[in-house]
Point group: D3
Chain length 137, copies 6
């Protein structure tokens, strides 16, 4: 069976600030500058979720992309969309919501959820010009 | 002299919530749903600023677009970027930061700032699929 | 009250062929070429729906864009998405589904549906490089 | 010689339906839902074709991208553009035209056609939010 | 007959420099800065050409967009694509190739070429963030 | 520590011609056609710069993307933007500025500049439809 990768682009809007509670406010300000604004700022995040597998000979699918969309919406997006990542989302209670850390969280939530397909790749777009790729390593 | 319109696309990231302090919390929740999350959410806003004028026969410009960019950055974007619109921006102290109202604020700030060119059009993109146009009327 | 225009981008996938049943097959072939393939071809259509109105002083909205999305989905998109425009959609039973005619149909369906807001503009993208604008005239 | 990958984005418009003739109509309906509409629907497909090779020291090219465009047009796109994949394209006579299977067909057609360059990657965009990657495995 | 506007997006790559031969080199440097580099720089221009007319009841077209594409290619794009606007294009022999002036030239070339359709609008994109609109006034 | 890849999209405008001084003018014309216009043409280049590393547990960053932007601007983009690659940029004094060769130059300049992060990937977009990937091999 040919083996390929299927990707669905999802999106969510969220507020965040970059802040490490284990260092001082002055240190946060020095490291993160405007991104550490105590009143938060926000983004339209795009998230490309890629799963890899053999093409099923009956369906011609690796994974029905409508089902992939439903899984990601239910397990991930509804917990992030129109939220404040620092205040509303338990995954970031003790984790600074940089694009890098958000990508890792997305991976950890989605990898078991898409089984038996294999989560192959996560790309998180924070802006049209900044994105992070993570493959679970 | 031919007369045309020159546009510069700008962008800023901000947090906001939709909230009208003159009605009850329950009414805000009913009208705005998830957009009224008390902890805020956010967007990557794109803003297309259009100015109209005769083409200057010496420069071939309506308005040097590098100068337009500087004006919009200085007068508008630096007050909005990486901010919480509700908490950090005086223009929204008593104004609900819907896309419509943000567009009107942008117009009022920019119209005098681009003179003697004429501000012709403002398009504010809240997401890749939602935008508002305002022409000062 | 300031008056502005709010736009929501919608999308649908459909098959069609360009064909005028009142002229001969040879004439259809001559006029429409590959676009007249009897077995159909198809497009990912994007549709920008723009409504104009005063900004409501209570909500800060011209029209809640979530409600606009619901109206367009219910009244228009669910009748077009994943359909064959020539065979499945009564609006095109006697009308050639060119981009121009699709735009006019969208207008006629949506204009009464968005009242009391005023439908201001329809932009139908047939491809990333071809689009049609219609304002009801 | 440095070794790199050169990509050309191509596009074609086509109708299709998802349908496996070896299972019942009811089963097709259950698996594919609206995508199995007997009258077809359609897409604007984008296809990113990537070839890998050493940079030729005389031309500075891996493969002249104008020539890559001509090869893909002649060998692949003219057989798919403005077609019904199920009815008009022999490659899908016995193969369900899911995005996965279309990507595999594109690979099999193009891999020998771009030699001696090596076909490195195929990305097929079915919509702006759904795409499939295939590398011949 | 309903009346609408049909747009085709075209593109061309060209080199240029901003330079007014009637003022001194120092003055050109002061006005145009890096854009006046004597060795030129360049752009991927996108050009949206919009024509307005009644929808023809036989064809369902305002103007066959394939024919519009051919007209613009033949009359305009082949004279600009892969050219140096200042040196290779007679239209700019005595005209500074700012985006504004290029838009006016496009209008003057295309307005008679698309008759009896009416040229309605020209949008010239110099970069993804800068564009000029011209309507022949 | 999780290991991921962070990308910043940069852009620059430049003129170039494809020309190998070691072969005859006729041969250049034969190989490169319109791309070899002696008066140059130009592009809006986009450059995606990707760096890989462990996520720093204090900052949550692989590399502060604002710093990545500054490094690429200072070391690379200010030498290319609004330049003629053949005439103004020493890196191409003896190297034909094809997209492939520009990508290799970008790599060689940036790889030491982003240390101790590892430069992982360069994608150079010459147009919206043509791009080159290079990973230093």
């Amino acid at each position: 069976m040919p083996r390929c990768v299927v990707t669905r682009r999802m999106h969510f809007n969220a507020a965040h600030r970059l802040f490490n509670p284990r260092v001082s406010d002055a240190e946060n300000e020095r490291i993160f500058g405007a991104c550490s604004n105590p009143n938060y700022h926000g983004h339209n995040y795009n998230l490309d979720v890629s799963v890899e597998g053999d093409i099923d000979p009956v369906t011609g699918y690796v994974l029905d992309i409508a089902r992939l969309k439903d899984i990601v919406t239910e397990r991930l997006v509804r917990h992030l969309d129109h939220k404040n990542l620092n205040l509303d989302v338990p995954w970031f209670q003790d984790l600074n919501p940089t694009a890098e850390n958000i990508a890792v969280v997305c991976w950890r939530v989605l990898a078991p959820a898409v089984a038996p397909a294999r989560l192959a790749h996560i790309r998180l777009w924070e802006t049209e010009r900044n994105y992070v790729d993570y493959e679970g390593t």
